[in-house]
Amino acid sequence: MVDGATAGLFLDAAGAKAVGASIAIAFTGLASAIAEKDIGTAAIGAMAENEGLFGKGLILTVIPETIVIFGLVVALLINSA
């Protein structure tokens, strides 16, 4: 049985912070990737029809990148807290 007191042996405060920061980055990164995958495929499909859509396709593809930037900001906030 693992109780609250022994859990501290595995993870001290700095370790918990590092794990928290890594979770923030990892999951937002995954989320961005999944979202961009779908949009990017569609954008390439559209570009095959009409080359002129490159600019718009690029914009739509990079929109979800904001998610991982949020993750990064959160990770840095956790780290410096």
């Binding site: 490159f54 600019g55 690029l58 929109i63 904001t66 930037i69 900001v73 410096s80």
Partner: protein, 644 residues
Amino acid sequence: MSRPKQMTRAVIVGHKSILKETIDSLHDTNLFHVEDFVEDESGFKISKPFKNAEEVSKKLVKIRSIANYLGIESKKPVVQKSDAVLRELDSKLNELDRTISAKTESISQLENELKDMDTQKKEILPYLSIDLDFDYFRGYENIKVFAGILKSNLETSQISSITQAYELYFDPQSKAVVLFVANNDADKVYELLQSLGFKELRVPERGGVPSELLRSIEQREADVTRRVESLKGEIESLKTKYTDFILASDEVLSIESQKAELPLRIATSENAFIIDGWTPTESYDRLVSVVNNATNGKAYITSLEVREEEEEDAPVEYNNSNAVAPMQQIMDLYSRPKYFEIDPSSAIFITFPLIYGMILGDIGYALILGSIALAIKKAIKSDAVSDMMNILIYCQIWTIFFGLIYGEFLGFPLASTHEEQGLLPFWHTVTLFNSIGGEEFTFPIHRAHMVMSMIVLSVVVGLIHLNLGYLFGFSNIAREHGMKHALLEKGSWMIIELGVLIAAVGYFGGSALMYIGAVVLVLGIVMLAMGEGIAGIVELPSLMGNALSYARIIAVGLSSIYIASTVNNIAFDMIWADHSKIGFAAIAAIIVFILGHALNTVLSIIAPGLHALRLQYVEFFGKFYEGGGRKFNPFGYIRKYTEE
């Protein structure tokens, strides 16, 4: 901020007898964007192309097919007189066509011959090891000849058990067999051969010993190949001889065909024509005088009063200085501005390279990329490439600027800190003040040591950029729908930001300012709701998202620094730890250093470039830009290879 060039809608009317002169002069000026006429109830019809149109397009097709066959590429132009080209065109084109078709015909004949000889060779090859004259294979009444290939070995005993009257030639290596037997025994022998996997081969019809035949065929083959090569060489020399002619005549004929086909795009009645279109207002007078000169004043030109909804469709021509012009590529990649809109080229002329530089901020990479861009620009003379390279050079100028502020050279710090020695011994880091998050704000800015301060700084830069966008949007809407709309739709956002700012100052200062800020904030939100309705309220959180999105400036920058300093660490601290010895370790370290930085240099174009571009397209343009303008495409031709 520039707007697209102002356009005037002009109409040219005249008698059909002066149509040709009018079209010629319009084409020469290259200033008039012709609006295609659509047939309607008015009784006007589109006209027929000029008589020479068919002939011109025939020649054009011919010259382009020749150019395509010869693989002619555009090159440094040798300018020729266009009338001289036209005069010689027919005779030269015919001559060229004749010689080329004669040569290609003989080449294809010779190539057919080569194919024939190849099949002949294949027929002879199996008999090579037996080397018996082919005439001996036929013309017998009582002898049957088996010629072919076996799958397994044939022993003489196997045949002699059937008959003594035989003559056998067998090559155990290729398993080719030629066997002469009397007709009486033929069936039995055939059975035997069948059991050994006999496959009959055709005996070549010509007589002669295989080895000699093969030799003569090979000789002829070499001869024919030589002739094909020499013909191809002649065609190649035709190419060098006629390249200038082909390029020039392609141009002249394209011009002629454009002129000849214009009547298909204009309105005509039985005796008159109307050409409708747009010209930049600044060039209108020139257009009038040129057309009048060409037609002795017989054509009537007038500018039309343009209704507002018509003006929406006016073609759009950029109105930028030469320095800003390369940025039009970035604009076109997104979408050309509408006629009414602000053209943000001059804004992104500053903001795009600035944000790029702020992300990369490394003197070493800036110097490498800058020199590569200069070299490519020198080597490739193409407008599109040179525009791209100019943009890259603008970016590198800002990168050097920020490189000085950050004090970075290929990931090495230039200035020394408490912990480490910088590249420049005389440059020491100075602490300016204590920043947020327990960080010290220093000069040069060590980005990796003051992440929180840099995030705040990036977001502040972002807010300035966003507000520039709101200002543009304000100006666009004020011009189109009036001041009130502009204030409600775009001004409200700025008031909201102001409210948040005052409230924040009040919160940290602990004063009543906080309540004033809250009031301003609510006022802004109410205005926004009036301006854009519920959609505006829903959009509110995106303001924070947009501003935070600028945190990528430091985020992407850090990733570049970490790659660079990792490369430096591996090369100099791990592999070549003992710097005094020059040996295998030193060479390995240098290779790692060069490859690592080459990789990071490539990434330094892609990552900061894409992210800086995205900040323009999504965050900045989202605040004001519509796009979707029509390209101003004047009737005319930019001559490269000919002149009047």
